[in-house]
């Protein structure tokens, strides 16, 4: 066991536990808050693996923006504050989902662990300058396309949220 192993084991254990909690808790808001813990500790995992830039972007975008979006969505859809088991499906479906989830884990482990699991590797020290050179050199066209994608997504979100719904239009017809 190396130092990095012990560090990653500790942080990864928190990540895995909070990920499982975020999909099993009955409190809607707690699910979003456990997601914060999962994404934050995952940033710690990236840091241990030597990817500081990715860790910081993860904190900025996921913990800062995506989770706020989730919390806003929960508030705007009038999520109940207390425990609400009716937001999970029936026990039979949950059992089936648990089996499929465990099956997915086993399948991934069966593929990934024998292929690469036995190796001990050096992680490369975080090389932000190298990543930046590649990002704005070799990867510059995908990068620019990504900004276009963000613009399209923003306009699409605006268009979808302003779209007249059937309920509104039918009530307008009734009132008219």
């Amino acid at each position: 066991m190396t130092t990095l192993d012990i560090l990653f084991g500790a942080v990864g254990l928190i990540t895995a536990a909070s990920a499982v909690l975020s999909v099993t808790t009955h409190h809607l808001v707690h699910a979003a808050l456990w997601l914060v813990v999962t994404l934050g500790t995952l940033a710690g995992c990236y840091l241990i693996l030597g990817a500081e830039l990715v860790a910081l972007v993860q904190l900025l975008v996921y913990v800062g923006a995506v989770v706020v979006l989730v919390l806003f969505a929960l508030m705007l859809t009038r999520a109940p504050m207390g425990s609400s088991p009716e937001h999970s499906s029936s026990a039979v479906q949950r059992m089936a989902a648990a089996m499929i989830g465990a099956g997915t884990t086993t399948l991934f482990a069966a593929v990934l662990l024998p292929a690469l699991g036995g190796e001990i590797r050096d992680t490369r020290p975080g090389d932000t300058q190298g990543i930046a050179t590649q990002l704005f050199g070799s990867w510059v066209w995908p990068f620019e396309l990504l900004s276009l994608l963000l613009l399209v997504a923003l306009i699409a979100a605006l268009a979808v949220s302003r779209m007249p719904t059937t309920r509104n239009s039918s009530s307008e017809r009734e009132s008219a």
Partner: protein
């Protein structure tokens, strides 16, 4: 020096938890939480491979940055759809048929 089975095992657990979340939840926002977990498992696999493989293009780290951005865009559109659904139906329970 790090044993590679640790991050790979975390990838497997995150994927399984996300798949469970997608299938076991009825609230649309909670289904999205499961999708986010699966995307983050993919991110962790990218970062792990990018950190240990000797690659001059830094593919693992750069693709992770791209994936984080795409996931943010996806989240924005998905939440707009969920809000439109809520205005239309009055609930976002995915197990009930639409009106």
């Amino acid at each position: 020096m790090i044993h590679l089975w640790l991050p790979l095992l975390l990838v497997c657990v995150l994927t399984g938890a996300g798949a469970y979340g997608v299938m076991a939840r009825r609230n649309a926002v909670l289904v999205l939480v499961g999708v986010e977990l699966i995307l983050n498992a993919a991110n962790l696999l990218f970062v792990t491979m990018g950190s240990v493989l000797d690659d001059t293009l830094r593919t693992g780290h750069v693709l992770t940055l791209f994936l984080i951005t795409i996931a943010a865009a996806e989240m924005g559109v998905a939440l707009a759809v969920i809000l439109a659904l809520f205005r239309d139906r009055g609930h976002i329970d995915l197990s009930e048929p639409g009106s």
